[in-house]
């Protein structure tokens, strides 16, 4: 259990700013996820915490003490890798016991703790096996046990589920979460899978091109994205990059000329709305309404997915729930598309930052 502070961390590689003034605090016992597309700096940041990268500027504190210059092997940090990184020439028990052996524990104590750790990851009977006799999921459980058995102050995981098949991924995801919660280990988790991040995390840090775009709970990040990048990276989102705004904040899109006070004084705004918030009827109150025709209709049982070509050329994705109750539109049908103003996200088109529209 430890609190981690990353203060103004920067790191450059020739021609690339890998980390650009990253400033984060991870609370003790928290499950904290670094989320972003590949190359966003999340793995670099994780490896900096682990001690395998040296940052150019900034400070790393664990429980208030600087660890920047503590070598990796003295940091007491558990690490789980995407490719498992199991020692192929050692048995499961020797893999899990490695960290304890490095700490000079007596054999018997090691054996006890290894057995307990293996039980924890449900590999109780496999202590004597060699890694090549294990499946990918089992290898990753070994890696998990190996990282946890040393009672690390912090647990770092670098896309631990990426190499597993979909079903196993969900299963192990829930197990990792349960285990982390019951042991209360401060965990920093790297992934590019936004759904995984939403499900598993206490808080998510969305990164792009070496910068932090937003830190917040999964709900925050999903419902109040701080930048256009976050809005379009997490979940599906219709984005209209530039919409003219009238002097009083009138949105120049669709019929109805809806006015949003917070936009007053701006010439343009970027507008976003999630497909599930788009309404296919005109009845909604306070909405931007556009006319269009269904391009493509996909029926998926519980819901239906539409792609609608609006008359101005705008393409809109819309989801409808229980299409069997409300009726399914077919391709070519003329429809009205409504964006309820309360569900709209506004961003400054210049810097991509969120504009709060007062409720």
């Amino acid at each position: 259990m430890a609190r981690v502070d990353l203060q103004h961390i920067s790191k450059s590689y020739p021609g690339v700013k890998a980390l650009d003034d990253v400033d984060l605090a991870v609370e003790s016992g928290e499950f904290f996820t670094l989320l972003g597309p590949s190359g966003c700096g999340k793995t670099t940041l994780l490896r900096t915490v682990a001690g395998f990268n040296m940052h150019d500027a900034g400070r790393i504190l664990v429980d208030g003490a600087r660890i920047d210059h503590v070598p990796a092997h003295r940091r007491n940090i558990g690490m789980v890798y995407q490719d498992y990184a199991i020692f192929p020439h050692m048995s499961v028990a020797d893999n899990v016991g490695f960290g304890l052996a490095m700490r000079g524990l007596p054999r018997r104590a090691i054996a006890e703790r290894v057995a307990r750790a293996l039980d924890l990851v449900q590999l109780g009977g496999l202590a004597g096996r060699m890694p090549h006799e294990l499946s990918g999921g089992q290898q990753q459980r070994v890696a998990l046990a190996r990282a946890m058995v040393i009672n690390p102050q912090i647990l770092l995981m670098d896309e631990p589920l990426s190499n597993l098949d979909a079903k196993l991924r969900v299963e192990l995801r829930d197990e990792i979460r349960d285990l982390q919660r019951s042991l209360g280990i401060t965990t920093i988790y790297v992934t590019h899978d936004q759904e995984e991040a939403l499900v598993i995390s206490d808080r998510i840090c969305v990164m792009h091109q070496g910068r932090v775009h937003q830190v917040g709970t999964p709900n925050d990040v999903y419902t109040r994205p701080a930048t256009i990048f976050v809005a379009s990276f997490i979940g599906a989102m219709n984005v209209v990059p530039e919409v003219p705004v009238g002097p009083g904040g009138e949105i120049g899109l669709g019929q109805g000329g809806q006015r949003v006070a917070a936009l007053a004084g701006r010439a343009r705004v970027a507008l976003a709305i999630r497909p599930e918030d788009v309404v296919l009827q005109t009845g909604a109150d306070r909405a931007l309404v556009l006319a269009g025709a269904v391009d493509k209709a996909t029926y998926a049982g519980r819901e239906a997915f539409y792609r609608i070509g609006c008359d101005g050329g705008l393409r809109v994705l819309a989801n409808a729930y229980r299409p069997d109750v409300g009726g399914m539109e077919s391709a070519g049908a003329r429809v009205a598309v409504a964006f309820p103003v309360s569900r709209l996200h506004f961003f400054d088109p210049a810097d991509g930052k969120r504009i709060e529209a007062a409720p």
């Binding site: 001690g51 070598p71 092997h73 940091r75 040393i150």
Partner: protein, 550 residues
């Protein structure tokens, strides 16, 4: 501050490696480069040596002959190696592994043994030639270019064979089926699709053959008769008492290096334009041939391989013939072995001691340098990587000359010592060990070592406990390979030896020149057995992978 210390350890290794390269490659080679511009009589700077090497008929002939044996040996190796590869990789040939093993054995036996065995068979008094003459089939003795080409083709075809066969086995058969489906017949398919796909492997084998052919000293010296090539010319210019001319020898050496470099560059350019990364979905299954075709294929494959093993068999057979002095007597006995044990036991001891010492140095240094090249990229490491290509293209004769010229003045007066021979073996074979250890490391994921570090192992300990054990099989295979080439080294040792430091290959060469075939055969047999045991050990540690040898 252990992170800093760790950096310092590998930085130290890097500096040490650069010092080795500077001391054992850059310095000697720049010494002969400088010498090549010095006039032998006046000591003044001159381009005269190069003018003579390039324009005097005497040297022009040597250059042309070198080209002939280089390209001829290459073509011969391809003519033998490619069909062998195609048949064994694509068709059902019984005893495929046996053939590959024999090819490897032919490969590891030193070329000069092949040369003199062929003389015993087809030389002036060769028993095969005389037997054929008794049947009324006149065969000219093989001295000259034909002999050299015969030896090189039969000696170096395994490079082409093994590389091409392994490449053929990784071509997705669907690609060839697609070509067939698009209407390409058997031959068009082979030349338009298959051959271009294996081109990098074929050309790598051909390149090796070319470079080794023009660098080889023993074969043209033994079987060449009056045919002079650059390697023998440089040697004679340097060693002969009467006409010795270091400046001219150096210029000849530089020409030899430049030729090798040009051919290496050409091959890289040709391969670089084709990116043929394979996607192997399923492995090609060898096809069955009809009975007549199958018989022809078997005869061809076994013919090539058995003929290439003939020299070794002849040598072993000869070593057990009874002798009286240098003259063979009817019957069999251990006379030749008794003679070498009585007269020159130190030669065997020298060979063993020098090779083993060099291998020990190579293993330690090569493993550490391989680690730097695989795991710690930096401009200096890149420079080191480039410098370590040099021994691949510098012939043993040339590096031998360079060592003599460089290390014959105090405080580094090493000529005549065992040290200079060990250092030579070390630097000549180090790049192979570096390359193999770097290749092994690239297959061991870096995250494994990092995981050990994050679990509390200091970097040095993580390397020793995790990475090193995983490297051992590859390193052992590399060490055995180094041993095989070190114990068989002739050309540079011939320049560096004195009576005390004579090695088996040198003694074999001298015995052949003196017509003492019994002694030569017994020593050669010892070399062949040592090499064969090492081959067996490589198979054992590498899980039977013929490609460990190329």
């Amino acid at each position: 501050m252990i992170a800093r210390l760790r950096l310092d350890f590998w930085a130290g290794v890097l500096l040490f490696a650069l010092a080795i390269v500077a001391g054992l490659l850059v310095w000697p080679l720049s010494t002969i480069l400088a010498a090549s511009f010095i006039d032998n009589r006046t000591g003044a700077a001159t381009l005269g040596n190069y003018a003579r090497v390039l324009f005097q008929p005497f040297f022009q002939t040597a250059l042309v002959n070198s080209m002939i044996v280089g390209f001829g040996g290459m073509l011969g190796a391809m003519v033998l190696g490619i069909p062998l590869a195609v048949f064994t990789a694509r068709y059902v040939i019984r005893g495929r592994e046996f053939l590959a093993t024999l090819a490897v054995l032919a490969l590891v036996s030193p070329p000069f043994i092949g040369a003199y065995a062929w003389i015993m068979m087809l030389g002036r008094n060769g028993f095969v030639r005389l037997a054929l003459e008794d049947f009324g089939v006149p065969v000219p003795p093989i001295y000259g270019l034909f002999g050299i080409l015969l030896v090189f083709s039969l000696k170096f075809y395994p490079f082409v064979f093994l590389l091409t066969a392994s490449s053929l086995r990784t071509i997705n058969p669907a690609i060839e089926e697609a070509a067939e489906g698009l209407g390409a017949g058997v031959w068009r398919r082979f030349f338009k699709v298959t051959l271009p796909l294996v081109f990098p492997a074929v050309s790598a084998g051909a390149l090796l053959t070319f470079v080794l052919s023009i660098a080889d000293f023993g074969t043209p010296a033994i079987v060449g008769g009056r045919v002079r090539v650059l390697a023998t010319t440089a040697y004679n210019l340097f060693t002969s008492e009467m006409t010795g001319n270091p400046g001219l020898a150096s210029a000849t050496s530089m020409v030899l290096i430049v030729v090798s470099m040009i051919v290496v560059a050409l091959q890289r350019w040709a391969v670089g334009r084709r990116n043929v990364a394979g996607t192997l979905v399923r492995k090609p299954v060898p096809k069955r041939l009809g009975l007549p075709a199958s018989i022809v294929a078997h005869l061809l494959c076994y013919g090539i391989v058995l003929v290439s093993c003939m020299p070794s068999l002849v040598v072993i057979y000869t070593s057990f013939r009874r002798t009286s002095g240098p003259v063979f007597q009817p019957g069999f006995g251990f006379d030749s072995y008794e003679r070498i044990l009585r007269e020159i036991p130190h030669v065997i001891g020298n060979s063993a001691a020098y090779s083993l010492t060099a291998v020990a140095l190579i293993v330690v240094t090569g493993t550490l340098i391989g680690y730097i090249l695989a795991r710690r990229e930096s401009p200096l490491a890149g420079a080191l990587d480039g410098a370590l290509l040099v021994p691949y293209i510098v012939p043993g004769v040339v590096l031998g000359l360079a060592f003599v010229v460089t290390f014959n003045v105090k405080p580094l007066e090493l000529t005549g010592t065992a040290t200079i021979i060990v250092l030579m073996l070390f630097i000549r074979r180090l790049p192979y060990a570096v390359r193999s250890s770097a290749a092994i490391l690239k297959q061991i994921r870096g995250s494994i070592e990092e995981a050990a570090i994050s679990l509390g192992a200091a970097p040095g300990r993580a390397f020793l406990r995790i990475t090193l054990p995983l490297m051992v099989p590859g390193v052992v295979a590399g060490a055995l390979m180094s041993f095989i080439t070190a114990i068989n080294e002739l050309s540079s040792s011939l320049i560096l030896y004195v009576g005390r430091t004579m090695t088996m290959p040198v003694r074999i060469y001298l015995s052949v020149l003196d017509g003492e075939f019994g002694t030569a055969a017994a020593l050669s047999t010892i070399l062949l057995v040592a090499s064969g045991l090492a081959v067996y050990a490589v198979f054992w540690v590498s899980g039977r992978n013929e490609n460990a040898f190329v």
